[in-house]
């Protein structure tokens, strides 16, 4: 069967697995759900009240039935109610999500636009200073946790420039694009730092591999100039692993957003998840985790499409 068709078939299957995992892991939390939901206040409930609540939330039913109901709700966009906010989980998530998505995409753009040229430069300069410098920087970048980068940026900005990235009030992309970019640029650099390093390393390695391939020799034999050999013949082939990496890394970006949003006090989905865990707001935790995983899966599907666009052997079915 065709590669893309197979991906499309397994997609809902994996989604189902994800929903199962999310649902049942939340149910594994020790103690009954009402205590978990209401915390210490649950102690004040009478048995009758408890029963009523259990019926209301459907937790007197067998687990499978509960899962079915929950999944049915999820399919209709009902992720339940947040105890902390007293509002539908989906509405809260949709409020917070644009920021996180923008952050992730911005850092991806930064990482790719720095990483790919740097990797190509290093690969085509073999063992000369440019290559060595790029390799050292990439190695250091890959070894530095995001929060270290973020704290160093904040430190440098505040101590040397007396500038503290605006925290608290947040300008959205639509209301004030410039202020929004100003607020997001440093978090995005923080988030994209390690990603840029791995893009650089992969681009370099892949470019080196491709440059030793037979068809590059063919291109040279027919008189293709060096610049065109690199950009026209080698790069489309060398980008294939970079595209794969980008799909995987998008997940790390969504995950890393938790930390970066925490450092820069950005009201995104990552911080929402973290707060929800702190507040034991399980419907919200469940919703956030599910939503992020769904986005990650969609991006990976898009990456596979890009992959096929880039590689005719996949698009047209290699033998």
């Amino acid at each position: 069967m065709n590669y893309l068709a197979r991906r499309l078939v397994t997609f809902p299957l994996i989604l189902l697995g994800v929903s199962l995992l999310v649902f049942f892991s939340i149910r594994m939390i020790p103690g009954d759900a009402i205590t978990a939901m209401l915390g210490t206040e649950a102690g004040l409930l009478t048995p009758v009240q408890r029963q009523a609540l259990a019926e209301y939330f459907g937790i007197d039913q067998p687990a499978v039935v509960q899962y079915g109901r929950w999944l049915w709700g999820v399919l209709q966009g009902d992720l339940g109610l947040s105890v902390t906010y007293g509002r539908p989980v989906l509405a809260i998530i949709l409020e917070r999500f644009p920021l996180t998505l923008e952050l992730a995409l911005l850092s991806m753009v930064i990482a790719l636009s720095v990483g790919v040229p740097a990797g190509v430069l290093a690969a085509t300069r073999g063992e000369r200073p440019a290559d060595v410098v790029v390799r050292i920087l990439a190695m250091l970048g890959q070894s530095t946790p995001g929060f270290v980068v973020g704290l160093v940026i904040i430190y440098v900005l505040s101590v040397y420039f007396g500038f503290i990235p605006a925290m608290g009030s947040f300008a959205s992309l639509w209301s004030d694009p410039l202020a929004n970019l100003g607020q997001l640029i440093f978090p995005a650099v923080t988030l994209g730092f390690a990603f840029a390093a791995s893009v650089t390393r992969i681009s370099r390695a892949s470019m080196l591999d491709v440059l030793s391939d037979d068809y590059i020799r063919t291109a040279r034999a027919k008189g293709v100039p060096a610049r065109s050999v690199v950009w026209h013949h080698a790069l489309p082939n060398a980008l294939i692993p970079v595209v794969t990496l980008s799909g995987v890394e998008f997940g790390y970006l969504l995950g890393g957003a938790v930390i970066v949003e925490q450092i820069f006090a950005l009201p995104g989905l990552g911080r929402l998840t973290l707060d929800a865990i702190g507040q034991r707001d399980y419907a919200l935790v469940q919703g956030c985790v599910l939503f992020i995983a769904l986005n990650f899966l969609i991006v990976n599907l898009l990456v596979d499409l890009a992959y096929a666009a880039l590689d005719p052997r996949i698009r047209l079915g290699a033998r």
């Binding site: 994800v18 190695m139 070894s143 890393g256 995983a293």
Partner: protein, 279 residues
């Protein structure tokens, strides 16, 4: 032996190995209590001291010695990293090997469940597990192991698929060798090299993830020292006491760098593809 010699001759592998050895030594000293000061003791009069002869890396808000706390923190980080990578590589290898070897529905079932785990960004999966079990050392181990198990399964399954089509496995079948013999002598033995590389690199990632979790306050719980937590505490003091930011930050970076350098060197040495390129 050959590999150790090769690493000693490898320019960056040597540096990586040196860093790892140094950290292991520090971690050992930290764990058995062989530190300059008691890492938990609060020297109240010496709060927020800069680096000095007494306090090599200064003290924190409570007057605790940063250097001593870092040593214990390294021990803690390494413990979690080694335990989680050990667990992940064991489970992942078994899953990847069996999925690749038997193929069919078992392969599908195993690898799709790995895909489900991979659908969660690393930190998020860890957060989910911590939300369930509650923070702590053991939780960190399980959470990080859950993140890297599918990666090991994939790393093992790929070569297993290609190894099982190799002619030496065909040859073994023509002799009538048992499945167990083929799996252990022909497959596992040839997987040792890629696994070693992967384990080293996974140790670097595990350190990274552990530091992130404890930075968020979801890893090792205070007052026990941990590298991420120390960074988190330094946040609000960075203007008065930058050393509280600088030393833990450098410690984390250098440790991860060590494993990355070592892993890269191992790959250069063990992977015939890169060998050909450098030859």
């Amino acid at each position: 032996m050959r590999i150790l010699r090769a690493i000693a001759a490898h320019p960056t592998g040597r540096i990586g190995a040196g860093i790892i050895l140094l950290y292991l030594l520090l971690a050992l000293c930290g764990t058995i209590g062989f530190t300059p000061h008691n890492p938990l003791q609060q020297f109240r009069i010496d709060r927020l001291q800069g680096p000095s002869a007494t306090y090599l890396m200064g003290t924190d808000l409570f007057g605790r010695d940063t250097a001593s706390r870092l040593m214990v923190g390294i021990g803690q980080s390494f413990l979690i990293a080694f335990a989680s990578v050990g667990l992940a590589s064991l489970v992942g290898t078994i899953i990847g090997l069996l999925a690749g070897w038997w193929g069919g529905w078992l392969d599908g079932a195993f690898m799709r469940s790995m895909d489900v785990l991979l659908a969660f960004p690393a930190i998020l999966l860890a957060l989910l597990i911590i939300a369930i079990v509650g923070p702590g050392t053991f939780t960190s181990v399980v959470a990080i192991a859950a993140v890297y198990t599918p990666i090991f399964a994939r790393v093992v399954r790929g070569p297993t698929l290609s190894l099982k089509r190799r002619e030496f496995v065909d040859a073994a079948r023509t002799f009538g060798s048992s499945e167990r013999y083929i799996l252990t002598r022909h497959l596992l033995l040839n997987l040792v090299a890629p696994l070693t590389v992967q384990v080293t690199l996974a140790l670097a990632w595990a350190l990274l993830t552990e530091a992130g979790l404890s930075f968020l306050g979801l890893g090792t719980q205070p007052p026990a020292p941990s590298l991420g937590l120390m960074m988190s505490e330094a946040r609000n003091l960075m203007q008065q006491a930058p050393w509280l930011l600088v030393f833990p930050g450098l410690t984390i970076m250098l440790g991860i760098l060590g494993f990355n350098l070592f892993g890269d060197a191992l790959r250069d040495i063990l992977d015939p593809r890169t060998q050909r390129r450098t030859a």
